[in-house]
């Protein structure tokens, strides 16, 4: 959307400072926080992330220490104790402490994977927008990557290297590259056609400066929207792989793996599987709501 679309009366006063993006950003924040659901989702997400970061400090027990009481129900049920707020699992480990540590690992897997996908994807996409010569090649590779769904990449990598967190992260990261590259490329091509690129070239800006100053700045918000929507999916696939025993290995705590361990006690202590599952659900739900809201605020084309 160019400035000419705005009727003159609403046009903001011209700001000579190139830092004009700052008030816009503040406006986004305001719009984002005006949506109570989105604000709540972001708050919950921030709280969960904080709890995960501080897990070693705030966890009441050692996540791997066995107590003698196994399958203890949560504190609010009849036989529960306040000693173990969320009860204990099948091996008598404190569920709250394990959930805190597990959230840490689950979030880490999601963040690193999304980071890899976002970084490599946007670099590839922007470069191919900038240099039409490499474009067909990048897109060819992209199409090929696109035909490997994340779960298949995960299965294949784990088959080669054996179960572990690392192959899962790598697979999920690679699987996020092609979509991200496509988004970055299409925005990049639009930006490359603008007059200010030519002007920038005329005053002697290097390719690197053009890439950083124009291409990256213009595409970053769309890439962020995509990544925030992708984050939830990545967490779900990562947790599913761990649930299947292909991701995190015991004794580490990871939410998907904890749910799998609780499966054997479904009949007598359903909370062991339910609590980590609900935590995953809340994380992904909040991430999706935030992503939807971000899209509505940042991408005027999609606004209804």
């Amino acid at each position: 959307m160019s400035a000419t679309d705005i009727p003159p009366a609403e046009m903001p006063p011209p700001v000579p400072d190139p830092q004009a993006t700052v008030p816009a950003r503040r406006r986004w924040w305001r719009a984002l926080l005006a949506d109570p659901t989105a604000a709540l989702a972001m708050l919950v997400l921030a709280a969960i992330a904080l709890a995960a970061v501080l897990a070693p400090l705030i966890a009441p027990h050692d996540p791997n220490a066995n107590t003698r009481t196994v399958m203890l129900p949560p504190a609010w049920s009849e036989r529960g104790t306040w000693e173990h707020l969320l009860g204990t699992d099948g091996q008598g480990r404190d569920i709250l402490s394990r959930v805190l540590h597990g959230t840490r690992l689950t979030l880490l897997i999601g963040l690193v994977a999304v980071g890899i996908g976002g970084l490599v994807g946007s670099v590839l996409g922007l470069l191919s927008a900038m240099y039409p010569r490499i474009d067909p090649w990048v897109m060819r590779i992209n199409d090929m990557l696109l035909s490997f769904p994340a779960i298949l990449l995960g299965l294949a990598l784990v088959a080669i290297s054996g179960p572990g967190v690392l192959p899962v992260i790598v697979a999920l990261g690679i699987a996020s590259i092609p979509d991200c590259a496509r988004i970055a490329r299409s925005i990049g091509i639009g930006v490359m056609g603008q007059e200010y690129i030519e002007a920038g070239r005329a005053v002697g800006l290097s390719d690197w400066a053009i890439l950083r100053r124009y291409l990256l700045r213009n595409s970053i918000s769309s890439i962020m929207i995509f990544l925030s929507l992708r984050f939830g999916q990545i967490i779900l696939i990562g947790a599913a792989l761990s649930f299947l025993g292909l991701g995190a290995r015991p004794p580490a705590s990871e939410l998907g793996m904890m749910a799998a361990q609780g499966r054997d006690f479904l009949l007598f202590a359903p909370h062991i599987a339910a609590i980590p599952s609900v935590v995953i659900f809340v994380i992904v739900l909040c991430a999706n709501i935030t992503g939807d809201a971000l899209r509505d605020v940042l991408d005027p084309r999609l606004q209804s």
Binding site: S147, F148, P149, L155, L236, G256, A274
Partner: protein, 313 residues
């Protein structure tokens, strides 16, 4: 039309090669020396070396890849290290259950998702819209294993209505259907969210277009306008979405099959990977990848059929 299809098939050839190479790399990169395994742990080095030559393992990778392709073309994927059955026979037994599960999941979830999305779009901003969208976003966010466990707990254990272990038989038998209910319910549930969200935004877009206004102006009833002029056009992006989400569905199927001990490709794959059964793991991944390519091919062709603009290009 035929040109579109041929074109599309040609485009999938490099992808096919990529998949085959992945399968090949899987066996190549797998830990352990196949010649040593064949010879046994006590065999002297000369014997291992001879077996290595016999198996062609001393030849350049590209030659080995060629041989691998040759064997593949003959349907020879080796034998499972665990069951000692041929991988081909193991795969053949698992494909039909997986197709049945996919079919049984999609047959109810796609129509329901489309109906929910259309209702939400037509009564946009209403309470119904908000409820449907809340259900959809929750559906997109639920871990598939949680859905499976909840359904097992509710309809398998607490009110034992449906069996939740294994497969009862082919889909057309009563027992087979009964066993399919809970897995298909679980897998279908994760698909409702994406379909209804996509349908909603697509219908909203189409309802704004001129031809819809014309249809209203010439006095068609609202259901006629929505069904004949709105939904029909809105379904085109939904078809693409279904294609894009097949990968997601595949992941769900792997988890669902494992939890319900349902003898499909996904469960076979997980079992093979966990037990380091490399030939079988390779076979399952190949079949899953080929299935994914095939479904996308079908979706693209369907898309070209539905949208006359694609054909002209």
């Amino acid at each position: 039309m035929i040109e579109t299809i041929l074109n599309r098939i040609v485009v999938s050839v490099p992808v096919l090669f990529g998949v085959l190479f992945l399968g090949f790399a899987l066996v190549q990169l797998a830990p352990g020396d196949p010649a040593r395994v064949q010879a046994g742990p006590t065999a002297p080095p000369e014997v291992v070396e001879r077996i290595r030559q016999e198996m062609g393992l001393d030849q350049p990778v590209i030659v080995q890849f060629g041989k691998y392709m040759e064997r593949l073309a003959q349907g020879d994927l080796g034998r499972s290290l665990i069951s000692n059955k041929t991988v081909t026979s193991e795969l053949a037994a698992a494909i039909v259950p997986t197709i049945e599960l996919m079919f049984a999941s999609l047959i109810w979830s796609i129509p329901l998702g489309i109906a929910m999305g259309t209702l939400a779009a037509v009564w946009r901003g209403s309470l119904l819209d908000r409820i449907i969208m809340a259900i959809s976003v929750a559906g997109v966010s639920l871990p598939i294993f949680f859905i499976c466990l909840l359904l097992i707990q509710l309809l398998g254990v607490k009110y034992p209505v449906f069996p939740f272990i294994g497969r009862g038989g082919p889909i057309w038998t009563a027992e087979g259907l009964r066993h399919l209910v809970l897995p298909a319910l679980s897998l279908g549930l994760i698909f409702i969210g994406p379909v209804s969200r996509m349908t909603r935004s697509s219908v909203l877009e189409v309802l704004r277009l001129d031809h819809v206004r014309t249809a209203r102006a010439k006095g068609l009833t609202e259901p006629q306008v929505i069904l004949r002029h709105g939904l029909r056009n809105a379904l085109i992006p939904v078809v693409t979405l279904v294609g894009l989400q097949i990968g997601y569905l595949l992941g769900g199927a792997v988890v669902t099959e494992t939890i319900f001990s349902y003898p499909g490709i996904g469960r076979l794959a997980v079992g093979a990977i966990l037990s380091s059964d490399f030939p079988l793991a390779q076979g399952t991944i190949l079949v899953l990848a080929l299935g994914f390519i095939l479904v996308n091919l079908i979706v693209d062709i369907l898309y070209a059929r539905l949208d006359p603009r694609v054909q002209k290009k």
